[in-house]
């Protein structure tokens, strides 16, 4: 085999999540009453715009979740040997970005280093100059004159490439709609431009155009330049920003995966059985709730760190250690954030269990487990869904804050939090090194805004009574992010 597949813990959970989402989608397709609210989501223009952008992020995240170890060229036949380093498919695709590192900071699209260096001139004298970069703009012979023309030529070519890709995609979509409606492509195109189709295709295509053109420009420039500059150790910032996507997505999704079983089981049990079970469960979540979330997370992460330091033999590679730490962070974030959903589910179950059909089921002697699974769980699932999509964006934001406090992901793992944390010290520099911060904030903003738009559409479709998600949504957000104020 040319490579040796490696499945990290978070990878496995990501696969489970993908399979679960696909299964749920199939199930929903077959049931008309479940399709109804999703159709409302599809009719919301902001929601679909968010979904398009999210899809691109998810593709990058999934590519970054397929890990392997590359095969090393070995002269002696027989046993194949593989590299120690674990890389992902995304790494392989971005190899040029990853390998073309510079000495230290360089500004976006620059051809010279950001810091002066002493070089020896041919006549033996010394001079302090900004040296040329090893890779960024290295193909330019006389950069002062050529640079602007070269950058704009490449950007235009990239934009044109992106545009062509968009035209192809738009044609495909139009052809698909035309087939479904039994109209000509021309008719569909006119209706689409008017905004006359029942789904917000116009907004979707405009978003798609923006994203594809941006990707085209970035890809064309990245071939010869550092599009977003380089970091302190000379790493390409665009590469870091793309790698951070997976970390953010893993934190946002796996945390909810960890928290759901607790919240659903305990919330429904407390509401359904009442009495002692209710008292105990309420006691547990009030206690957890009263501890400031940051302190609980800090304590747990420090505990994890000590465990890792004392058991180095359990973690053969740095990637696995960072990965387990990420998983643990998800788990502890899940433990601190399940209480809000649990309380909501308890309240809803208390209401539902008094309804006639539950009473009837009890009178017929249906077992508790069956009542919960068949009658209560399906009727609270919309709350769960809303909670999950609303929580995603606040978790992505929380990661950055936690990494700043020093209790976030492993320092060796690339994430928006670690990018901001590393760049923050350079604020005092004059002129300021702004590109790392700007890249991290811009990517985070795009991801969180897309998630927020999509989450709003889901919430409006599934729950007209908006008020019900308030307390839950604000919980982590208030303690971590909102409390910046």
């Amino acid at each position: 085999m040319p490579f040796d597949p490696v499945i990290l813990w978070t990878d496995a959970l990501v696969y489970v999540l993908v399979i679960a989402v696909a299964g749920a989608a199939l199930y929903v397709r077959r049931h008309e009453h479940l399709r109804q609210p999703w159709r409302r989501v599809a009719h919301s223009a902001p929601g679909m715009v968010g979904l398009v952008v999210l899809t691109f992020f998810v593709v990058f995240g999934l590519l970054d979740s397929l890990h392997f170890r590359a095969r090393l060229d070995d002269a002696g036949g027989g046993k194949a040997s593989y590299a120690v380093e674990v890389t992902s498919v995304l790494d392989a695709a971005l190899r040029t970005l990853q390998e073309r590192s510079e000495k230290t900071y360089s500004a976006p699209l620059a051809y010279r280093l950001y810091a002066r260096e002493t070089v020896e001139l041919p006549d033996g004298a010394q001079s302090r100059v900004y040296p040329r970069l090893r890779h960024g703009g290295a193909h330019l012979k006389a950069p002062e004159q050529e640079w602007a023309a070269d950058v704009s030529r490449r950007a235009l070519a990239g934009a044109a490439g992106g545009f062509i890709a968009w035209v192809a995609a738009a044609m495909l979509i139009c052809a698909g709609i035309a087939r479904a409606r039994a109209q000509s492509i021309d008719q569909v195109w006119r209706a689409l431009a008017r905004g006359g189709l029942d789904l917000p295709w116009r907004a979707i295509l405009i978003t798609l155009a923006c994203v594809l053109v941006l990707i085209g420009v970035a890809a064309a420039l990245a071939a010869k330049y550092h599009v977003l500059g380089t970091s302190k150790v000379g790493e390409d910032v665009l590469y870091q920003a793309l790698k951070s996507i997976r970390t953010a997505l893993v934190i946002g999704t796996l945390t909810t995966l960890v928290m759901l079983p607790f919240a659903i089981l305990l919330g429904i049990a407390a509401g359904y059985f009442k009495g002692l079970a209710d008292d105990v469960i309420q006691y547990v979540y009030t206690t957890l709730n009263s501890i400031p979330a940051v302190l609980l997370i800090a304590a747990a992460v420090l505990m994890m760190q000590v465990y890792v330091d004392t058991h180095p033999q359990l973690f053969p590679s740095g990637a696995e250690r960072a990965d387990l730490r990420l998983l643990f962070l998800c788990a502890i974030l899940g433990v601190t954030s399940w209480t809000g959903l649990c309380r909501l589910l308890r309240g809803e179950t208390l209401k539902i269990r008094e309804l006639d059909y539950i009473q009837a089921a009890q009178a017929f002697g249906v077992s508790h487990l069956r009542i919960i699974l068949r009658h209560i769980l399906p009727n609270v699932m919309h709350i769960v869904l809303i909670a999950v999509v609303m929580e995603f964006s606040s978790l992505v934001l929380a990661e950055a804050v936690l990494s700043y406090v020093g209790v976030g992901v492993d320092p060796s793992m690339i994430s928006y939090g670690t990018m901001i944390n590393a760049a923050r010290l350079e604020m005092a520099r004059d002129p300021m090194v702004w590109w790392s911060l700007a890249a991290a904030f811009a990517f985070m903003f795009a991801l969180v805004l897309a998630a927020n738009l999509f989450a709003d559409a889901v919430r409006d479709a599934f729950d007209p009574r908006v008020a019900i998600v308030k307390p839950f949504k604000l919980r982590l957000g208030r303690t971590l992010v909102g409390r910046t104020g």
Binding site: L295, I420, R424, N452, R478, G485
Partner: protein, 325 residues
């Protein structure tokens, strides 16, 4: 009412014991008393005798949770957990691991925290209500639509961005206020004004949007229809009727936060170098000072429970339909 309050206070005791137990377990798994002693004594003076002396001096020479050697109830009471937790209930926080008096630290650091947190809280609520009322007044117009859009956009910006961007723009480029630091008395204003502004701005997105839904929900009620049917102007309906009724969920939602204002804000204080309780907590986390973290967790839990109690009481004050029994 007084019976209800007494019951709630009694109910708080098992919760606080649970909080203490949890933080105790978490932190003693992190570092045993031996590790703590080693860290406090520094690398040079670490001998087994010195560690023993430090443990005896600071009361860490007993078993953690269960004293098998002792007799009767002393099996529970002659332990580190009992010794360190029970004193907390009397708000006797003891000394930090570096020997300083925690209660004294809390007292002196409380006022910088409050100087920052109280203005953010009050101005924040006022600003959010203003924006929310504007959006509700112009509901279903472009002003409302773009208001909500900008709220969602502002919610999507990381809190760190507001802080870093504000600090760079106002302090570094325009030189309007010092970058960080704090001073007592009237001088505090120039140190506090930027963090307060940033705190208010970063809260607008989520706050104004939430209040807008509250006002819109209120506007769908029958009394609003009646008021309109009587021929009242829309502005009168909004400001006299809807605002008053909308204040019930807003105020009761805000009350739970009031006691927590004492704890300050972790991020703001550490970014702006304000010597409040928030930065105290962050420093304690980073230096693994268990005594301080335990005290802050306990204080936070007490304040949270007080906040919940105050919320319930405030319901009865603003909404006569609610009675506590």
């Amino acid at each position: 009412m007084s019976g209800y309050i007494i019951r709630r206070v009694l109910y708080a005791i098992p919760i606080l014991i649970g909080v203490n137990f949890l933080t105790f377990v978490l932190f003693f798994v992190v570092n045993t008393p031996d590790d703590m002693a080693r860290m406090q004594l520094g690398a040079k003076r670490v001998t087994p005798e010195a560690i023993e002396r430090w443990k005896i001096q600071h009361g860490y020479d007993r078993p953690l949770l269960w004293n098998a050697k002792a007799e009767g109830s002393a099996q529970l009471t002659d332990t580190i957990f009992y010794d360190k937790s029970v004193r907390l209930f009397a708000f006797d926080f003891g000394n930090a691991d570096d020997g300083r008096d925690i209660a004294h630290e809390i007292r002196t650091r409380m006022s910088p925290s409050l100087a920052l947190a109280v203005p953010v809280f009050i101005i924040g609520i006022a600003v959010n209500i203003t924006f929310a009322l504007l959006m509700a007044f112009f509901r279903a117009t472009y002003l409302d639509f773009w208001g909500v859009v900008s709220c969602v956009a502002m919610m999507s910006i990381s809190g760190l961005f507001y802080i870093i961007g504000g600090q760079y723009l106002v302090s570094k480029l325009w030189h309007l206020v010092p970058i960080s630091g704090f001073a007592g008395g009237p001088d505090a204003i120039k140190f506090v004004v930027l963090p307060v502004a940033i705190g208010v701005v970063s809260g607008i997105g989520a706050g104004a949007r939430w209040y807008r839904t509250i006002f819109l929900e209120e506007m769908g009620r029958d009394y609003v229809r009646t008021a309109r049917a009587k021929g009242l102007r829309e502005s009168v309906v909004l400001f006299r009727h809807v605002l008053k009724n909308g204040m019930i969920p807003i105020l009761t939602g805000a009350v739970v936060v009031i006691p927590m204002l004492f704890l300050g804000s972790l991020l703001m204080e550490s970014f702006f170098g304000i010597p409040g309780l928030g930065s105290y907590t962050i420093d304690a986390i980073q230096s693994q000072d268990f005594a301080v973290v335990r005290s802050m967790v306990f204080l936070g839990a007490v304040l949270y429970i007080v906040g919940l109690l105050l919320t319930d009481i405030s319901y009865t004050l603003v909404d006569p339909r609610v009675r506590l029994a």
